[in-house]
């Protein structure tokens, strides 16, 4: 990429800056900045709520040469706010006569241990890219997102070394105007702990959180019956 080209990171988690999506996005844009690229960052759930923000979103998209879309898996696909943003972008792009080629990279994470559970959401993003004429650069798909828990990848240390390696490779490729390499996809998708350990820790974590709210004993409640 040339240094005068613009990169836009759109964080699609409703948790905004404290989300795992933001951590992953931040790691990638730091690498891109090290290559001298300028990156702008914004939060989809902040932008889509009001007309003014929606206009801002569309203007930022128009100015971008590469968009990095980072979001968590919600109910097997994209969170509603991210779909709303994509609907707005698609409608707007259809109304434009001359549109420049914009690259799209997806950074997705899910709370399940298997990164493969993100596949449907990635397929949806790919169709979006096709429909609006964006250039599909690839997706980095991560499972066990709960183990990152919104912390930076540096803070998570050796456990996520393969994720960092994969992201470093992806940054290098994007700078060289290439697609995300298969090696990067494989590294990011690698399980960074045994599934049994992740699920056990996760289940204990839910109990701990419920206890904090005084809800431990009613965690299996069945309202509305």
């Amino acid at each position: 990429m040339n240094k005068d080209e613009n990169v836009l990171l759109l964080v699609g988690s409703p948790k905004g800056s404290s989300s795992t999506s933001a951590s992953l996005g931040n790691y990638l844009i730091l690498r891109l900045e090290e290559f001298g690229l300028s990156v702008e960052k914004d939060y989809i759930y902040k932008l889509i709520r009001k007309e003014e923000g929606q206009k801002e979103l569309l203007s930022k998209v128009n100015n971008a040469d590469l968009i990095i879309l980072a979001f968590p898996l919600y109910v097997d696909c994209l969170p509603a706010g991210v779909i709303k943003a994509l609907e707005l972008i698609a409608k707007h792009r259809k109304s434009l006569n001359n549109t420049k080629k914009i690259g799209l990279v997806v950074l997705i994470n899910c709370g399940f241990p298997e990164a493969e559970q993100n596949n449907t959401a990635i397929a949806i993003c790919k169709i979006f890219a096709r429909e609006v004429g964006f250039e599909w650069k690839g997706a980095l798909s991560l499972g066990m997102g709960g183990a990152i828990g919104g912390k930076s990848l540096e803070e998570r240390g050796g456990m996520v070394r393969n994720v960092r390696k994969g992201y470093n490779l992806a940054a290098q490729a994007l700078v060289e105007k290439k697609n995300i390499p298969e090696e990067a996809i494989q590294l990011v998708g690698k399980r960074f702990m045994p599934i049994i350990l992740y699920t056990k820790m996760g289940n204990l974590g839910w109990n701990k959180q419920a206890k904090k709210f005084g809800a431990r004993k009613k965690i299996k409640a069945k309202p509305y019956l």
Partner: protein, 190 residues
């Protein structure tokens, strides 16, 4: 027997209004007591991703709005139907807004089913589930992704039966009625 339709369409779509009427007709013929919720009419908040519905007020979202009524209907229904324009292969944002807020229907705990991890079920009832998607133009890729999404949702939401029905713009409504009726007959068998 209760059925719920979550309608993720823009109200002005006349062709879809017609299909919606056909669905109601078919359901009535088979004695389903149907509640159809037109989501565009309703102001509900976006899910905040706080997991309060799992650890703070288990089974109920911490945001108090009409979504509580939607979840109540989902829990009490014997058949769940999603009705949506196929949006890049998935659901419209209008429908998805309601779906993101109903994860309280499962528990936070992880469990393995057929070698894959899912959340445990909160309720014993396994409901049948039909996803109906509207396509503006024929698009095999979108169809495939939509069908996969319905299948994935059926796994993660513990349904007893799932079916994805695609309606293409301009299609013979009778054809749609037949497919829908066939799915309902399958549901009856279950």
């Amino acid at each position: 027997m209760k059925a719920i339709i979550l309608n993720g369409f823009k109200i002005e779509n006349g062709e879809m209004a017609k299909i919606h009427d056909l669905m109601l007709e078919e359901l009535k013929k088979l004695n389903w007591d149907t509640t159809s919720i037109v989501l565009e009419d309703i102001d509900i908040a976006y899910c905040m991703g706080c997991f309060g519905c799992w650890v703070q007020t288990p089974g109920e979202c911490v945001i108090k709005d009409y979504e509580a009524e939607i979840v109540k209907n989902l829990v009490q229904s014997d058949l769940i139907i999603y009705f949506t324009p196929i949006t890049f292969g998935g659901y419209s944002s209008i429908l998805k807004k309601a779906l993101d807020r109903q994860i309280s229907r499962v528990l936070p705990y992880f469990t393995k089913v057929d070698g894959e991890v899912h959340h445990e079920q909160r309720y014993e009832k396994h409901q049948p589930f039909i996803g109906i998607g509207f396509l503006d133009n024929p698009d095999a890729e979108k169809e495939e992704v939509f069908k996969t999404l319905i299948y994935r949702n059926s796994l993660n939401m513990w349904t007893s039966y799932h079916e994805a029905i695609i309606y293409e713009k301009g299609q013979d409504p009778l054809e749609f009625s037949n497919s829908f009726n066939k799915a309902l007959m399958n549901v009856e068998v279950i």
